[in-house]
C-alpha cells in the first residue's frame, strides 16, 4: 500500500434514501471526512453496488473504504474487501431504524447520520490493513498431557484427523481410571446393562498408531513458546529428558478421588467393608478374575445386602468436604448395583440418595436399574457403623421423615467425588504456595509471565470459558479436556476430549496463517508497541487475560503473537498509549470521538458517547434497531472489541471535547462472567471505578461517566438505559466544557 486513497460510499437502499438526505451525507464525507472519492448508490450491497466498489479499488487504487449503509454486523459477505482497510457507518440499524420517522425527528436523525459518516471517514484514515504475521510458528503436532480416557480420545481423534500426537502419561501405563473399571455405563441403546469399557481397544489402537508417540512414566519439566511453536521438555522417570516441538496442547490430566479416610463418620477407613466406588470396581475386577461373585472384604462372607451412599463427602455445606456435585456418581452406583443384581437378583441393593442426578442417557439406565430391582431410598445417611458382620447404615428417610431409619449391609459403597488434577494455582503467589502443607505439582510447567499452569476456576477446576466456550482456556493453544475442567463421566469426557482436540487443531492452523484464535477467529491484526514510549510499567503483561505478553531481558513487554486473542485489553491498560493494532488503536477510536460535530451549549442538544462491547452490547443495539425500538438521537455509538480495550484517554478526550456524558456497556463480570475475553469487562469496571478523580479534576459531575453490564439479550433494556441516561443528562444539564476543545 503506497499512497492512501479514501473512498466513501453512501447507500440509499433499505429506506436510507427516503429518510436521510444522501446529498448532505456525501457533502459531509467530502468536505469534513476529506474522502478522495464519494459515491452514492441506490442499493450498495447488490452485485452492481459491490462491483462499483471493487472497480474503484482496482482502477482508482482506493486503499481505504468507508461504507455508510447498514451495521458492520450485516452484509459482511457482500462488503468483503480483504485488500483494503474498511470502516462502516451504521446508518440503518443505528439511525433510521432506531429513530422515529416523523418531521420533528428528521433533524436529529440527519445529524446522527452525518456524525456517523464523519466518524467512519475519520476512523478509516487511521486504519491500516492488517498484514498478519505468518512467521509465528508452523508446528502442527499436538501434545496430549494425560493418558486416561480423555487423553487417549484426544490422541486418537487427532490422529484420525491427520495430525501427529505426542502423548505424555505420568504413570507406567495408559488407561487411567477407565482401565481400572470392571464395566462402564452404556453410552447408547440399549441403555440397560453395564458394558465393556473399551479401554483396552483404545490402548491397542494407540500402540499401533504410527502418528502417536507415547511417553510413559513421564512428566512435563518445562513448556515454552506459543501456539505453532511450543517446545516441551519431557522428563522420563529413568532420568532422561526428551525435547518435543508441538503446535498445541490438550491437557487431560484428569482427577483423583476424594479420600474416604476423610469420612470416618461414614465408616471411611474404618472397615474393609466400607469402600469407595473405585474400591468396588477393584473388588468386581478381582471377583471376575476368580470367576465368583463379590465377597465381603473383611471375612470373605457372602454378600446379601449392599448399601450405596450417594453424595459421600460431596455437596457439603459444612466446608469440610467437597461443596460440588460430581455428576457421574449416581449413574455409577446404579451400574455397580447391577454388578450384584445381574449375578444374583436375590442380593438386596439399596441406593440412598437425596437427589438422583443421572445426566445424559442416565434416566434410561436408572429405569433399567429399577426394573432389575435396585431399591432407591431418598434419604440422607447420618452414619455408618461397621460391625462384626457388615455395617449398620443409619439414615434420615426424607420421604417418611424417619430420622432413625437404619439398614444392615454387608458392604457399603461411598460415592465420593472427583478432585481435579489441576496443578499449581497461579493466582496464589509463589511465596504463599511454598508455605502450603501439600505443595501442588505443576502439570505443564509453563515458562509464562503469568504462571506455570492454566488458571483455575472455583473448587480448583482448570480454566474453561464455561458459559459460552467450554473448551477455551485463558492460555491460547492449550485446551483442557475431561474431568480436570469440571466433574464428568466417561461419555462426557470422550465428547469433551474430541471437542478440545478440534479446538487445538484450529489453533495450530490459525497460528500458521498468523490469524487469531477464538473468539476473533481469523483476525490478522496484532498489537504492537512503540518501544521508545514504553515506561515498563508492566500493566499490559499483568492484565493480559491470556498470558500472551512476557517480559524480555530488558523488561519490555514481549508479545507472543499467536497467544494473543486481539481483545485489546493491553491497549486499554497502557497509561502511555503506546500499544495499538493496525486497524484498532487509541487513534482510530479517538479520532471518531473527535469527529462528531459538537453543538454549542445553547443548542439544547447534548451528545452522549456510548462505547459498546461488540460482542454483546452492540448486537443488542442492532437488534433493538431491527425491532424498531427507539432511543435518544443524542447518542453516538462506537463499538469496541472488548470493554477491556477502552483506554481512559478516550473518556477524558470525550469530556474535554464537550460530550455531556459517556456510557460504557460491557458484559457481565465476576464468577458468572459473560465476557468473551474473561477479564476484559472486569478490568474495565475496575478502571472506571477510578475515573471519578479525573472527573473531579475536570470539575464535572460523576454521573458524566456510567458503566453498565449488559447481555446480548437486553434488546429492550439497552435502549431504555440510553433513554434513562439521556434524561439524567438533561437533569444535570449540559457539560460546561463545551466550546473549549
Amino acid at each position: 500500500m503506497s499512497e492512501m486513497k479514501t473512498a466513501a460510499y453512501i447507500c440509499k437502499g433499505c429506506g436510507l434514501g427516503e429518510r436521510l438526505d444522501a446529498a448532505q451525507l456525501s457533502k459531509v464525507a467530502q468536505k469534513e471526512g476529506k474522502a478522495n472519492l464519494v459515491r452514492e448508490h441506490d442499493f450498495l450491497c447488490s452485485a452492481a453496488g459491490v462491483q462499483m466498489i471493487r472497480d474503484d479499488i482496482e482502477k482508482e487504487a482506493v486503499t481505504h473504504v468507508a461504507i455508510a449503509a447498514c451495521s458492520r454486523r450485516a452484509k459482511a459477505e457482500a462488503f468483503w474487501f480483504p485488500t483494503v482497510a474498511m470502516a462502516r457507518a451504521n446508518l440503518r440499524e443505528g439511525v433510521i431504524w432506531s429513530q422515529p420517522d416523523t418531521d420533528e425527528a428528521r433533524e436529529g436523525t440527519q445529524e446522527m447520520a452525518d456524525d456517523y459518516v464523519r466518524m467512519a471517514c475519520a476512523e478509516v484514515k487511521r486504519m491500516k490493513l492488517p498484514a498478519g504475521n505468518t512467521e509465528t510458528g508452523h508446528n502442527k503436532r499436538l501434545l496430549v498431557v494425560g493418558g486416561g480416557v480423555s487423553g487417549m480420545t484426544a490422541a486418537i481423534e487427532a490422529s484420525n484427523t491427520g495430525y501427529q500426537v505426542v502423548l505424555v502419561e505420568k504413570s507406567g501405563s495408559l488407561g487411567g481410571w477407565g482401565a481400572r473399571l470392571w464395566k462402564r455405563i452404556p453410552f447408547q441403546e440399549p441403555l440397560k446393562d453395564p458394558v465393556e469399557t473399551g479401554v483396552t481397544d483404545m490402548i491397542d489402537r494407540i500402540g499401533a498408531d504410527p502418528n502417536i508417540k507415547v511417553y510413559l512414566n513421564a512428566t512435563l519439566a518445562k513448556t515454552t513458546g506459543a501456539p505453532g511453536r511450543f517446545a516441551a521438555e519431557i522428563a522420563v522417570e529413568s532420568g532422561s529428558v526428551a525435547m518435543e516441538e508441538v503446535g498445541a496442547i490438550v491437557q487431560a490430566s484428569g482427577f483423583g478421588t476424594y479420600d474416604i479416610a476423610e469420612l470416618p463418620e461414614l465408616g471411611g477407613g474404618k472397615s474393609p467393608d466400607v469402600v469407595d466406588q473405585a474400591g468396588l470396581e477393584k473388588l468386581a475386577v478381582e471377583a471376575a478374575a476368580r470367576g465368583q461373585p463379590i465377597r465381603r472384604p473383611s471375612d470373605g462372607g457372602e454378600i446379601r445386602t449392599v448399601a450405596f451412599v450417594q453424595c459421600a463427602g460431596q455437596r457439603d455445606d459444612t466446608g469440610r468436604h467437597l461443596p460440588y456435585c460430581s455428576g457421574f456418581c449416581c449413574s455409577t452406583s446404579i451400574k455397580q448395583a447391577m454388578y450384584f443384581k445381574d449375578v444374583n437378583p436375590a442380593v438386596d441393593t439399596v441406593v440412598i440418595y437425596t437427589d438422583l442426578r443421572v445426566p445424559g442417557s442416565g434416566e434410561d439406565f436408572y429405569r433399567s436399574g429399577q426394573e432389575k430391582g435396585v431399591t432407591f431410598t431418598k434419604g440422607k445417611v447420618t452414619g455408618v457403623e461397621p460391625g462384626s458382620k457388615g455395617c449398620t447404615v443409619k439414615f434420615h428417610d426424607l420421604i417418611l421423615n424417619d430420622k432413625d431409619a437404619a439398614i444392615q449391609a454387608d458392604l457399603v459403597v461411598l460415592a465420593t467425588g472427583q478432585v481435579p488434577n489441576s496443578g499449581v494455582n497461579v493466582d496464589i503467589p509463589e511465596e504463599e504456595a511454598a508455605k502450603m502443607e501439600v505443595k501442588p505439582v505443576s502439570i505443564l510447567n509453563l515458562d509464562y509471565r503469568q504462571g506455570r499452569d492454566l488458571p483455575q476456576l472455583r473448587h480448583g477446576f482448570t480454566d474453561s470459558h464455561f458459559i459460552c466456550f467450554p473448551y477455551e482456556t485463558r492460555r491460547t493453544g492449550i485446551y483442557a479436556a475431561g474431568p480436570v475442567r469440571r466433574p464428568m463421566d466417561m461419555a462426557q469426557a470422550v465428547e469433551d476430549a474430541t471437542g478440545a482436540t478440534l479446538k487445538a487443531i484450529q489453533a495450530v492452523e490459525n497460528a500458521e496463517l498468523g490469524r487469531a484464535a477464538h473468539p476473533r477467529s481469523g483476525d490478522l491484526s496484532f498489537p504492537s508497541f512503540r518501544r521508545d514510549g514504553c515506561t515498563q510499567c508492566k500493566r499490559c503483561t499483568v492484565e493480559c487475560p491470556f498470558g500472551a505478553i512476557d517480559e524480555d531481558e530488558q523488561r519490555y513487554p514481549l508479545f507472543n503473537e499467536s497467544r494473543c486473542r486481539r481483545c485489546g485489553t493491553c491497549m486499554g491498560a497502557c497509561p502511555v498509549r503506546v500499544i495499538s493494532f493496525e486497524n484498532y488503536s487509541v487513534d482510530t477510536v479517538g479520532s471518531q470521538i473527535k469527529a462528531v460535530d459538537m453543538p454549542d451549549e445553547f443548542s439544547e442538544k447534548p451528545r452522549i458517547l456510548l462505547l459498546a462491547c461488540e460482542n454483546d452490547a452492540y448486537p443488542a443495539l442492532d437488534m433493538a434497531g431491527m425491532n424498531r425500538i427507539q432511543y435518544s438521537a443524542f447518542v453516538r455509538v462506537i463499538p469496541v472489541r472488548c470493554l477491556g480495550s477502552v483506554n481512559t484517554i478516550w473518556i477524558t478526550d470525550a469530556l474535554n471535547s464537550g460530550y455531556d456524558g459517556v456510557m460504557l456497556m460491557g458484559c457481565k463480570h465476576g464468577d458468572e462472567y459473560q465476557c468473551h475475553f474473561v477479564k476484559g469487562s472486569e478490568l474495565a469496571n475496575y478502571r472506571m471505578s477510578k475515573i471519578d478523580d479525573t472527573l473531579k479534576q475536570l470539575a464535572l459531575e460523576t454521573e458524566r461517566v456510567a458503566t453498565y453490564e449488559v447481555a446480548i439479550t437486553d434488546i429492550e433494556r439497552v435502549p431504555q438505559l440510553i433513554n434513562n441516561y439521556a434524561a439524567k443528562i438533561n437533569e444535570i444539564g449540559l457539560s460546561p466544557l463545551k466550546g473549549f476543545a
Partner: protein, 207 residues
C-alpha cells in the same frame, strides 16, 4: 382370612416389596416410582390422606408391611385418575391403590369400619344378589348402616334428592319388593366364581 395373612408374612419374611409385586394388582410397578411426588401433589384428597401415594410406595420399599396394609389411605382414593395422568414414570397409581386396598381386605387386615370399605362391601353384596344393583335397597342399606335413628336422620337430610329422583323416574320404589334381576343369574354367579378362582390362583390365595 387371617391365616392367609400369616402365610404371606411367613412366605415373604422381610420382603414386602416382593409380596406386593406378586399379590397386588399392578404391584410390579411400585419399584419404578422415582419419588418425585407429583401424585401426592395432584391428588385432590392428598391433604386428607395419612400417607399419600408417594409415601405408600416408599413404605412398601422400606418393608413397612403392617403400616401400609392397615392404613386407610388407599381407601380414600376416588379414582379421579389425576395421578395416573400426571405420573412421569407412567405408574398406574389408581389401580395400585385399589390393588393394595383389595389385598389388605382379602388378608383381613384392612381398617374396620372404614366407610369406603363398608360401602364397597354393601355394594358388592347388593349386586351379587340379583346380578344388578338395586338402588332402593343399596341406598336404604347405606343410610341405616348405623341403626334406625341415624338412618332416619340421614334419609331426611337427603329427602329432596330422593324425591327428585323419584319424579325423574331414576328411582323406582317398587324395587323395594324384591326387585328384578338378571335373566341368567346362575350363569352370572358361575362367571364371578370362575374369575375369583383365576385371581386366587394367580395371587396364591388357593388353600
Amino acid at each position: 382370612m387371617s391365616d392367609l395373612n400369616t402365610q404371606a408374612v411367613e412366605r415373604y419374611r422381610n420382603n414386602f416389596l416382593k409380596e406386593v409385586e406378586e399379590n397386588v394388582e399392578e404391584g410390579h410397578w411400585v419399584k419404578m416410582c422415582m419419588q418425585c411426588g407429583v401424585c401426592s401433589g395432584s391428588c385432590p384428597f392428598g391433604p386428607h390422606w395419612e400417607h399419600p401415594p408417594q409415601e405408600i410406595f416408599m413404605m412398601i420399599r422400606a418393608g413397612k408391611r403392617d403400616e401400609v396394609l392397615a392404613s386407610d389411605s388407599m381407601w380414600m382414593c376416588t379414582s379421579c385418575y389425576n395421578c395416573i395422568v400426571r405420573c412421569p414414570r407412567k405408574l398406574p397409581i389408581t389401580h395400585i391403590m385399589h390393588g393394595l386396598a383389595n389385598y389388605a381386605h382379602r388378608l383381613g387386615i384392612a381398617p374396620k369400619g372404614q366407610p369406603t370399605r363398608e360401602f364397597a362391601k354393601l355394594f358388592w353384596d347388593n349386586m351379587m344378589k340379583k346380578g344388578r344393583v338395586n338402588e332402593m335397597k343399596l341406598t336404604i342399606g347405606h343410610y341405616f348402616r348405623n341403626g334406625i335413628g341415624a338412618g332416619i336422620k340421614e334419609a331426611m337430610a337427603m329427602k329432596d334428592v330422593g324425591l327428585g329422583m323419584l319424579k325423574a323416574k331414576r328411582l323406582n320404589p317398587m324395587e323395594l319388593a324384591g326387585g328384578h334381576g338378571l335373566k341368567d343369574l346362575k350363569g352370572f354367579h358361575a362367571m364371578v366364581a370362575k374369575a375369583k378362582e383365576i385371581e386366587d390362583r394367580k395371587k396364591g390365595f388357593v388353600k
